[in-house]
Symmetry: C2
Subunit: 403 residues, 2 copies
């Protein structure tokens, strides 16, 4: 008998009709003789509405109470899912975080699941019951409700798969898997059958909406293979697994791009220890997320240029903070607020020479100017003018045989 | 130092603005040096929306899951209220039903609070904190979430006042008290300063929306005096207390009326034991609520007429059930689906002779025909044509010196 975790995301339980549809998927798996634990997100839109409520009370809404507030969303879906399963003739029951309990540690709104009591639920599964568990939440040692951050429902499913030693962890989403690029913009993008945690992590960080990076990381740390599947189409999804379980015939697995970036270059920054820290400290304190950072070796050992990218919405705040920063000196600040980051990702890259060169050559063929470059072991990212981003992605998709 | 329960109803916490307004009332009471326990309802409309969700999944939605579903509403308001108090600089914390815990017994959707742990909250109050508690809910001995029925948040406030031995129990509502009649329809209706539990119980049963009958009953059984106050106007409200604490200068305290009633008369029913039970059993099983029942002594000892009232929406179902009922015989069924019940209520009635006569005389002066009569110790109800109901209420309001 196979034990499975089936997790349904916010869009997959975004209406009563969709909850009933998801319940039918669960019924099918249950009727096939599997032991099923269901994990649910809040209905799409709910968490955002609740956050907006808290924000209109206070920009610094108490985090303990924010957790009490937000976790209500998954409580609602758990009850509706259990009720829908009952209506389909399935024995099913919702289990709140404190009823299991799901023990967490760490700060409010950003806790980690450290343990879970398995006995009650395992007994229930053995009696043929389906356990429905709200994602995204737990309870601290002091008995307070905690949440485990955005994407936390995926992470909950992964940890449950680990702790309950299930045979699979299936994430049902509004997409049918992970694609070699954004299928809405690049029609030739193809679904990837298997992808490594590391690649998925890069793709998530690069803006692929399929999974939050933190959830991928949880799966990687716990070595839990994940199936990403579509709630709305019966089709094979994408398997996310450790690298050794994947055959790499291609150097590049996917091409990602981000929108809404801005690039800032400080020219003539002093080249001495601590300068970068002095530059980025006020940005970090004001919650401005700095993405790529590129600093060249200085020609004269005294002055250098520093380039970094931020979200476009933060450009004015960042510019003011830099201008008002008494700790740093620079000659001029250049801002380009219409740039895109285009990245190729692939665990096969390590074993394939010339990937980086091939990327630059392809972009040159399209007469696309590269404004900045940053590389990691399984990723090469370039900053280019935003207007060329789709053209670049299409070209790279073809260059690396992903079409 | 005074200990108080302040309870805010659904309309009083119906928006973020209103929650903040309610928090300011709490702050004022807290700043005056009182120890405060706040009880909150779900935001107006929330519970109905959640019920509608469950109904669109199943007309017989699992009651355990319904409790999990509905109690999320007060969880949301508790967190928002605690956060709003924090934002006003008040130490405050929400306490979920299972965190206190609020122990209940009885069926899902209709449980009763039997105990509550006071230690943690009392310590918190002593440290100057405000405890915010979701109304309407508790947890059973087996650890399941339970709800205590509609009007349950008022009942929660009453039980908390009892168990925590508070000095007052103040229910903040969208009305500023209990009126001698519906102030929207009878402009001369006056706010009642003091009313007994018994009278309030009759008025609640007769459709006065101020408090659910079950909550009044809880207050009466526990002998907890209640203050009904307006959230939106600083004004003296209505005190609900035991009869001995009230001076009765008037025989009648209030005039109530119900709308949407229908009257059914069965003519020529067999006059033998068990007939009434046979008539009402199928109605009860189909959840058709029978209100007034009037049966006259039969003239010949063989046949009699039986009149009863139901909600108008149930008239077709009731009619079919009666026609299909093989256990009973009658000559004809008369249905009048446009009737109203008008009632005078007053604990002073017992000591004042002629109240009933005076009521009938007043209605006769207005040429209003009485279709049926039912009396209790502190109430006289008559069924009349619906079109005369406002006229009747106005006349009785004047007759009994309530204007």
């Amino acid at each position: 008998m196979t034990k499975k975790v089936l997790k349904f995301g916010g869009t997959s339980v975004g209406s009563i009709q969709r909850i009933v549809h998801a319940a039918k998927i669960v019924k099918k798996e249950h009727d096939s003789g599997n032991k099923i634990i269901v994990v649910v997100s809040a209905m799409a839109g709910t968490t955002n509405n609740l956050v907006a409520y808290s924000q209109s009370i206070s920009k610094k809404f108490n985090k303990r109470e924010l957790d009490v507030l937000l976790t209500s969303g998954e409580q609602v879906t758990s009850a509706l899912m259990a009720g829908a399963l009952n209506d389909l003739g399935i024995k099913a029951k919702s289990w709140m975080n404190w009823q299991i309990p799901i023990l967490t540690e760490g700060d409010h709104t950003n806790a980690r699941i450290i343990n879970m009591n398995v006995e009650g639920i395992n007994n229930y599964l053995s009696e043929g019951g389906v356990a429905v568990i709200p994602g995204f939440q737990g309870v601290s040692k002091s008995g307070d409700i905690t949440s485990i951050g955005r994407g936390g429902s995926d992470a909950t499913a992964v940890v449950i798969a680990k702790i309950f030693q299930t045979d699979s962890c299936e994430l049902y989403k509004d997409v049918d898997g992970v694609y070699s690029s954004d299928p809405n913009k690049i029609p030739v993008a193809k679904k990837i059958d298997k992808i490594s945690y590391e690649e998925m992590l890069e793709l998530s960080s690069l803006g692929t909406k399929v999974m939050q990076a933190s959830a991928v990381q949880t799966a990687m740390m716990n070595d839990v293979p994940i199936q990403v599947k579509s709630t709305f189409a019966e089709r094979k999804g994408t398997e996310i697994n450790s690298q050794e379980n994947i055959d790499y015939s291609k150097a590049v697995t996917g091409v990602a791009y981000s929108k809404d970036d801005a690039k800032i270059t400080l020219i003539g920054v002093e080249d001495k220890p601590g300068v970068a820290a002095d530059i980025f400290e006020p940005l970090s304190k004001n919650e401005i997320n700095v993405d790529m950072v590129i600093q060249n070796i200085s020609a004269d050992g005294k002055k250098t240029d520093l380039t970094f990218t931020i979200k476009r919405q933060d450009k004015n705040a960042a510019s003011s903070l830099l201008k008002g920063n008494k700790k740093i000196t620079y000659e001029t600040m250049q801002m380009n607020d219409k740039v895109s980051k285009v990245s190729i990702v692939g665990a096969g890259m390590v074993a394939t020479p010339g990937v980086t060169y091939k990327m630059f050559r392809s972009l040159a063929e399209e007469k696309i100017n590269i404004l900045a470059i940053s590389t990691s072991e399984i990723k090469v990212s370039v900053i280019i003018d935003e207007e060329s981003s789709i053209q670049a992605v299409k070209k790279l998709h073809k260059t690396f045989n992903l079409d």
